[in-house]
């Protein structure tokens, strides 16, 4: 069976930690948990995957109708429907990943309280599962994009970069909220409201630029939101090279610096809060 040396040496036990048990175990657990959960949700039942696809598509259909037929926001933008779809799918990822992460540590209470478990795996695996779902949904989105007549450009190759940033941001929020939720149960409600607000503070429904919002002062302010920067850049790289880039919309370096600072501090603070609180989580549950 095991090939241990005859007498393993005494080594200090460090106590609970977010990574507990080494990197190898951390990553295999992370991968296994996300993959199993993903398989379970989307392949366990036929409806599982369909449902995950139907939700953003339904939202898309409603918003498309409202904003092209009633408010006529995007009537002079040829790509508005696919822009809307892409934005909704990306934001759905962010919202689902973060809001299911909030309660994740509490949901996995048994594991936290009764095993020595790398606790960071729990919120991150939720975000990872959501990313698998996102990748699947993006295939459908790209079919739409091509069918709409958008020409592929070399900038499509840059797409992984904003996706990565979105993942990191979601992970930062997930770490922060899942650790806080153990102690403060209203975090879930607060985040639900905040996430809704963020949706409107991100240029998804209303495109920026002359043919869209056409209000530079508001656009400058919007660019403080890291999500807005990511989404605007995706729009330029994937759909409309002529649309204002994040830098153009920001009108100067200041909003972008602010967005960068917010991005970094959310991630650092999230990691710090999780690292700081996770050793005591088992006792608080």
């Amino acid at each position: 069976m095991s090939a241990h040396p005859v007498a393993p040496e005494l080594r200090e036990v460090a106590g609970p930690s977010p990574l507990g048990g080494g990197w190898r175990r951390f990553f295999s657990l992370l991968w296994l948990m996300s993959a199993t959960e993903f398989r379970r949700t989307y392949f366990g039942t036929v409806l599982g995957y369909l449902w995950s696809l139907v939700r953003p598509l339904l939202l898309f259909a409603v918003l498309l109708f409202v904003f092209t037929q009633i408010f006529r926001v995007g009537h002079n933008l040829p790509y508005y429907p696919v822009l809307l779809l892409l934005g909704i799918v990306l934001y759905t990822f962010f919202q689902e990943a973060t809001s299911s992460a909030v309660t994740s540590v509490v949901t996995q209470e048994g594991v936290v309280r009764k095993t020595q478990f790398p606790r960071l795996v729990i919120p991150i695996s939720v975000v990872l599962t959501a990313s698998f779902n996102l990748l699947l949904n993006l295939i459908v989105v790209f079919v739409f994009i091509l069918a709409w007549g958008v020409d592929p450009t070399w900038t499509w190759l840059l797409f992984p970069l904003p996706l990565l940033l979105l993942f990191v941001l979601a992970a930062g929020v997930a770490m922060m909220l899942s650790a806080l939720y153990v102690r403060f149960r209203d975090v879930a409600i607060i985040w639900a409201v905040l996430a809704q607000t963020l949706f409107y503070a991100t240029p998804i429904l209303y495109p920026l630029g002359k043919k869209g919002l056409n209000d530079p002062s508001i656009e400058h302010i919007l660019m403080i939101n890291p999500l807005a920067v990511i989404f605007e850049q995706v729009r330029v790289w994937i759909l409309e090279p002529s649309a204002p880039t994040a830098a153009e919309a920001a009108g100067g370096p200041l909003p972008l610096v602010a967005a960068g600072a917010i991005f970094v501090s959310v991630c650092v603070l999230g990691a710090w809060i999780f690292a700081h609180r996770s050793p005591g989580i088992a006792e608080e549950l």
Binding site: L10, R24, R25, M33, L180, F184, R185
Partner: protein, 414 residues
């Protein structure tokens, strides 16, 4: 049992302390915290472990016993890196199985196969290693035909079998086990016992936390009695067992002499004691039993919640509060299974030999969960009292039937 004392250390615990801070007024939301930023953050301190030190050698089976709330589970959780110790140092040699309870990481929505793999990885194996052992695990659990069945469709017996064999596959050097031996049917229990003996032979170190003194005496080289966060004694399992029983039935704080008094329900959550009495042979209530005559104890218990696997247990204690004898019986439901429902009335009837010396005695009655922490559903201190009369008054606790001779065997002087 021999203690492999000359072997190298597997676990060294030095002066470990743990205090839980229990807020008297808990602030549960950010809103409250924001509204009352300076609200009193009073808390009560609960000292769960107060400077615990001990050493365990490699290949040793070490039992930890103690009452509920004695700190033994906290100690186990600190050893398993689930809780963080406030002070002290713990050192270990070799790989520790990170579970303290069977089947913890199981996800009922996944199949047996997926769960075994997930659990294996939790225990620090690679996916490949786990896959390699999958067959052996399912074989041991006798669940080969159910590998692709979701756990939610498993019976509880199947679950326990799967959990136990999953734990065995971890091949860890040190195992922490919290009350798991009484699992499955008799055949599987035998299998578990064999597995334990095998592990013992293979030189694994095992820490066993249990209420079952029988288990401790059967498997452990040494045992430790822990009470109120402190180590009472470390030593021979049989001796620890006696100490434990003594401690258990001598309710520390409330043991004031022997006046146990009327039935005072100390704990009553899941059951209540309707009545308890002593009967004579004509089924009449009696207040005394003659020495040597059978003690007939009757009790009626009403359950107040649905549960499974509970036992009615009784302790006979003398006037000094020393527990003399404990006995219990699993409560069987109307259908013969262990499942019982709120509102069920349980009739208990027991007959005991009476070797008791003349004097006054009390019977404490309780209902206890068989599994897990052995949670107490009900404990009535001094539910019945009775007098034993007749026989010799010897000043000792028991008067046993005996044969004794004392004759001069040799003469040195003629």
């Amino acid at each position: 049992m021999s203690v492999p004392a000359e072997r190298p250390l597997a676990i060294q615990v030095e002066d470990v302390k743990k205090t839980f801070r229990i807020p008297t007024k808990r602030v549960d939301s950010l809103k409250e915290r924001a509204v009352h930023p300076f609200a009193s953050r009073d808390f009560r301190e609960l000292r769960a472990l107060d400077g615990v030190s001990f050493e365990i050698h490699q290949g040793e089976f070490f039992g930890i016993v103690g009452r509920n709330g004695s700190g033994k589970s906290t100690l186990l959780k600190i050893l398993a890196s689930i809780y963080k110790a406030d002070a002290g140092r713990i050192r270990m040699a070799g790989r520790l199985a990170p579970f303290i309870e069977l089947g913890v990481g199981f996800n009922v929505e996944l199949t047996a196969r997926e769960n075994v793999i997930l659990n294996g990885v939790m225990m620090g194996l690679t996916q490949r290693e786990t896959r390699g052992r999958l067959d052996a695990v399912l074989e041991f659990a006798e669940l080969h035909d159910f590998a692709d069945l979701k756990l939610k469709n498993f019976s509880s017996g199947m679950l326990v079998r799967l959990a136990f064999s999953t734990m065995m596959q971890a091949d860890a050097d040190i195992l922490l086990i919290d009350e798991v031996l009484a699992v499955g049917d008799a055949a599987f229990q035998q299998k578990c016992a064999d597995a334990f003996h095998e592990m013992k032979a293979a030189g694994k170190t095992i820490i066993l936390v249990t209420h079952e003194m029988k288990t401790v005496e059967e498997y452990c080289h040494r045992a430790m009695l822990i009470d109120a966060g402190e180590i009472r004694q470390i030593g021979d399992p049989a001796e620890i067992g006696r100490q434990y029983l003594r401690l258990n039935f001598q309710p520390g704080a409330q043991a004031e002499g022997g006046h146990a008094g009327e039935g005072v329900p100390a704990v009553a959550e899941g059951a209540s004691l309707v009545d308890a009495w002593i009967e004579d042979e004509h089924r009449e209530r009696a207040s005394g039993v003659e020495h040597g005559e059978e003690i007939r104890l009757r009790a009626e218990i009403e359950l107040s919640r649905d549960t499974i696997g509970v036992s009615a247990s009784f302790i006979v204690a003398n006037a000094d509060g020393v527990g003399l004898f404990q006995f219990s019986a699993p409560i069987r439901g109307a259908d013969g299974s262990g499942r019982v429902y709120a509102g069920d009335r349980v009739a208990v009837s027991a007959r005991l030999a009476n070797p008791l010396a003349p004097g006054r005695y009390f019977v404490h009655a309780g209902v206890r969960q068989d599994q897990g922490e052995g949670d107490v559903e009900l404990f009535v201190h001094g539910a019945v009292d009775f007098v034993v009369f007749g026989g010799e008054r010897s000043g000792s606790l028991l008067a046993l039937d005996h044969e004794v001779e004392a004759t001069v065997a040799e003469r040195s002087r003629s």
